[in-house]
Amino acid sequence: MIAIIDYKMGNIRSVENALRRLGAEYVLTDDRTVIAKADHVILPGVGHCGEAMHNLRERNLCRFIKDLRHPVLGICVGMQVMCRHTEEGDTDCLNLFDAHVRKFDAADGLKVPHMGWNDITNLDGKLFKDIKGGEYVYFVHSYYASLCPDTIATTRYGRMFSSALKYENFYGTQFHPEKSGDVGERIIKNFLKL
């Protein structure tokens, strides 16, 4: 059973659909007892990272998530809340990944948000089993995680940033595997095998 943490951060229907297509059983919940019993935990998230932290605190989920020992996957803002700090609302986050989250600078001539298909490189570890460096995945975000020792995939948009992170049993992807075609489905399957 997979627990998708329900903390009212955007549309999670696409995550549910992706799991259903893979034939995986899941439950959408903010109940700690249910999450603790799950085999895998997914922390989705679309929207404002400061609000995401607020919603986690409101549900007393911050310490609880940090203490989880089963595989946890944060997606997009769900990954960013697992970093050290974000410029978005100048928010201290869960501090699982040793990355700072900063805003892309439109002054660099970049279109912000970074939206569309970009390639992932320097892939490291089981999350990317049978995924070749240079494959494309789908991104929609205005803030990025810096490179750090926890980086397990990098992407270039003006600068290099962490497109995936890992610390012990915690994984995060800045991109949306649930919207990244067959490559994304393989990444979700890899996560479910952890």
């Binding site: 696409s14 659909n17 569309g116 970009n118 067959d182």
Partner: protein, 254 residues
Amino acid sequence: MLAKRIIPCLDVKDGRTVKGINFEGLADVGDAVELGARYAAEGADELVFLDISASREGRSTFTRLVERIADRINIPFTVGGGISTVDDASRLLDAGADKITVNSAAVANPELISQIAGRYGAQFVVAAIDAKLMDDGIWHVTTHGGSRVSGRELFTWASEVEARGAGEILFTSMNHDGTRNGYPCDTYARLAADLTIPVIASGGAGSVGDIAEVLQEGRADAALAASIFHYGEITVSELKRQLAALGIPVRTSL
């Protein structure tokens, strides 16, 4: 490197896809979910489904179709056609759409863009702009499939929709749509220079060269096309292979 996107567009009426030349002379080209899934498997980067049903029944059929698309398709998709209220947008978001497009209703009520973007974020809102270059040398924004000329001018309106929170602009030249003679690349290049949000080129593709030109000289971030795909003239994968050979960054591996 961020890839240029290729986006097949499917016009939908009563759950079936249709495509007309200049929006007239419709011909049935199949089931929307099956066709969308085929394009996704061929390497389409996104899909657009436009509801051209006029009736209330058609609208509710479309919402159920959007749910089926969301269940089946593993790439982002945009839906549009007749969205005139925040509730319309909410209903399609709940059905599983990643983005919506607003067109005529936003021209009549620009606040609609601010309201939808304010609630669901800029990434959810694609402003579709149909415009016609007229004898006065001005690009006039049109509505209702090009049949009505509004009082708005293309570049001013494009900047306004960006300021109101649209995340992308989908621009169609009514002078070029359906002609298959290519895109007005100078106009696209000016939009790219004026705006910081992505521009999707639509209407006019007759060849791979046309699409390459609008992505390079026109600086468009994406190209949307219908007929060349629907009538099997080129597959999405072959188009992308040829664009890659021209040095255009596209997602070719799957």
